[in-house]
């Protein structure tokens, strides 16, 4: 099955789109051919949109019987060489973690869109709440690393979805797109780049030229770097001897031992942090106060920073585009000389604040601005900036 180019790309130019649709279009542009999903507010528009769009490009969109089946069908599709994804919200994610853990073990790549809603439990279905990151980064039993990306507008939902697929192909781990209820339902203009430009970016799923049995990641002792081969494809000759769940070696059978196996799963991501961790800086050069944020709160912070700058307060934003793995080194560099740090997060416990605290000098004050189920008003962040600048 191949993603037919005919209707794969939307016409170049500006389109008004909903966040969930922009994400779906980004996925199709990245070569998505299989989507398995189960309707759950606020991610339902993804499956609705793809049910119409995927058959047009020769792909398959299946509404499965539950979240467990949808993530498993996605894994099955990825096993036979399709670029696959699913979309869900918090309660669905809790059901899916079993398979995410197994996919991490067998290094089966897929992309996972989590349109977060307010929890815990069923919670409030149409309110944004960045409360799934804790579950995302420790998703499933066992030790492994995942990649989580947090877009903040519809344009990024399109662009970063392509990046997410590339990460999945390159690093062979579950990749999460952390959207939320507001972002998913936001209507914005999306600039679709020309077809050639997208195709240049996309990493294709294909059988490598030199077929070996070494299909899982391993540490190359000569170079000291982790080798991540292309994902195996069932139905071709590029497969391991057996897809086995125990601690397996690069050929799927010979085990290097538990520690080395887990090390491989974790360190293949950690050693590539410089390529995975995308960050953005806004007016940070002379900033004394640093706002560290991801997702929607970043957009609110722009306004607060602009007003504060007019008042003469030196404040800037450090934005995490890749939320996980956490960019320790970059954050360390930013917080080194800061007088105070403000973390506006769309949750109460401060999942990223915890990580920032870990790398910040002990005497630097950290002010959390928590908010749940509704996004911040710029005044709230401005108030925090004024408070710490006193």
């Amino acid at each position: 099955m191949s993603n037919q180019d005919g209707k794969r790309f939307l016409p170049e130019g500006r389109h008004l789109m909903m966040g969930n649709e922009a994400m779906s279009e980004g996925a199709i542009a990245a070569g998505l051919t299989f989507f398995g999903g189960y309707p759950i507010t606020p991610s339902t528009e993804v499956i609705e949109h793809l049910a119409k769009r995927l058959p047009e490009v020769g792909g398959v969109c299946m509404q499965m019987e539950d979240e467990l089946a949808s993530i498993n069908s996605v894994m099955g599709a990825s096993l036979v060489g399709a670029k696959a994804m699913t979309a869900t919200s918090g309660p669905g994610l809790s059901l899916m973690v079993e398979t995410i853990s197994m996919a991490a073990n067998l290094e089966i790549p897929f992309v996972f869109c989590d349109v977060q809603r307010s929890g815990p439990g069923t919670g409030s279905v149409t309110d944004p709440h960045h409360n799934d990151l804790g579950l995302v980064r420790f998703s499933g039993n066992g030790e492994f690393e995942v990649i989580a990306i947090a877009p903040m507008n519809c344009q990024e939902l399109f662009d970063l979805t392509i990046t997410a697929f590339n990460f999945a192909e390159t690093y062979r781990c579950p990749v999460f797109i952390l959207s939320d209820a507001y972002l998913g339902h936001l209507h914005e203009v999306v600039e679709i780049p020309p077809k050639e430009e997208i195709l240049k970016k996309v990493i294709k799923r294909e059988v490598p030229e030199n077929i070996t049995r070494q299909v899982f990641s391993y540490l190359d002792k000569k170079t000291g770097e982790y080798v991540i081969p292309k994902p195996p494809i069932m139905g071709t000759n590029y497969v391991p001897m057996f897809f086995f769940h125990t601690h397996h070696g690069p050929d799927g059978m010979v085990s290097p031992g538990g520690l080395k196996f887990v090390q491989t799963l974790v360190d293949k991501i950690k050693t590539n942090k410089d390529k995975i961790c995308i960050t953005e800086k806004y007016k940070l050069d002379d900033a004394e106060i640093v706002i560290i944020a991801y997702g929607l709160p970043v957009r609110v912070s722009y306004r607060a920073v602009d007003i504060a700058r007019q008042e003469g307060i030196k404040v800037g934003i450090f934005r995490l585009v890749t939320v996980w793995p956490f960019p320790d080194e970059q954050v360390k560099e930013v917080v080194k000389n800061a007088k105070a740090i403000i973390i506006p997060e769309l949750n109460y416990t401060g999942i990223i604040a915890e990580q920032v605290e870990r790398v910040t000098p002990l005497d630097t004050p950290i002010l959390k601005v928590p908010k749940v189920a509704v996004f911040h008003h710029p005044d709230e962040i401005l108030k925090a900036i004024r408070e710490v600048s006193k």
Binding site: P55, M75, F244
Partner: protein, 306 residues
Amino acid sequence: MSGLPMYPSEKPENPDLKDSFAGRLLGTYSSLFCAGCGYGIIGHIYTRVFEAEKLDPLLYPLVIGIGCYSQIMTLAHADSQKILTLHGRAPAIATGMKMANPKMKPIIFSGDGDCLGIGGNHFIHLCRRNLDCVIFIFNNSVYGMTGGQGAPTTLYGAKSTTTPYTMIENRSDGMKLALAAGASYVARTTVAHPRTLMKYFKKAISHKGTSVIEIITPCVTYFGRKNLDSLGAEYLGIEGKKMDTGGKMVHWIKRNVVRLNQAKFMTEEELFNKYIIGEFRYEPNKPEYSEEYAKIQKFAMGNGGK
């Protein structure tokens, strides 16, 4: 065959040795199952049919669930591509594989706990879609790998480690479930009828649609040793004996099955705790999901979609 001391030399040559996974890897017969287990027979039949039908290993992946039978890979054909999946999720994974590569025809191995317990929902919906694949349900009526706990298929009145007094739940019937859900080929046989099993398997491979084949198989270690052979013959009121060898269990299975055409003339009481064997349904012309989806794709890719 290099003779290991544990196997007597007069043992007949294993015809599938060169094809089985362990045979090719180690050059010797290797089975990880208990004495008296039926999975060895199933593994050999799979290998033999795979070889006899000259199945393309690239198009017939083996999707294995979690249970004792996960170890069947040592007996299964060396060329077939195998994946060990999660507990109960094999039908869902096979759905993804089949839909992403419609040329494939996944062969699913799953157990009674796997398919009728934890993965019951996936099994129902696989049958409902009539997706082109073969699904085997290995029914030994206990959870063997974890040590003989009661399963959804444990017979009423039987003993297991989690039902030490007696099982008081009604057993679930995989065949009735498959029929109700809409699978197009539904058949049940036992390991005591290997030729029938081979016939059903060959038929399932050539059939377009979901083929559900339930195989009644003995578990001596955890079911036979705890239970009496009077199970399933309660109405006769005879005193049973412990089924502590494979022979006794196979004998019990043979006695405890009823052919479909005989079952029509038997009362509910007589059929209690019995296994009905035979072909329950064969509908070769029922619409198959991946073919129907291909039609939608063709329509959408043309001008029909917009």
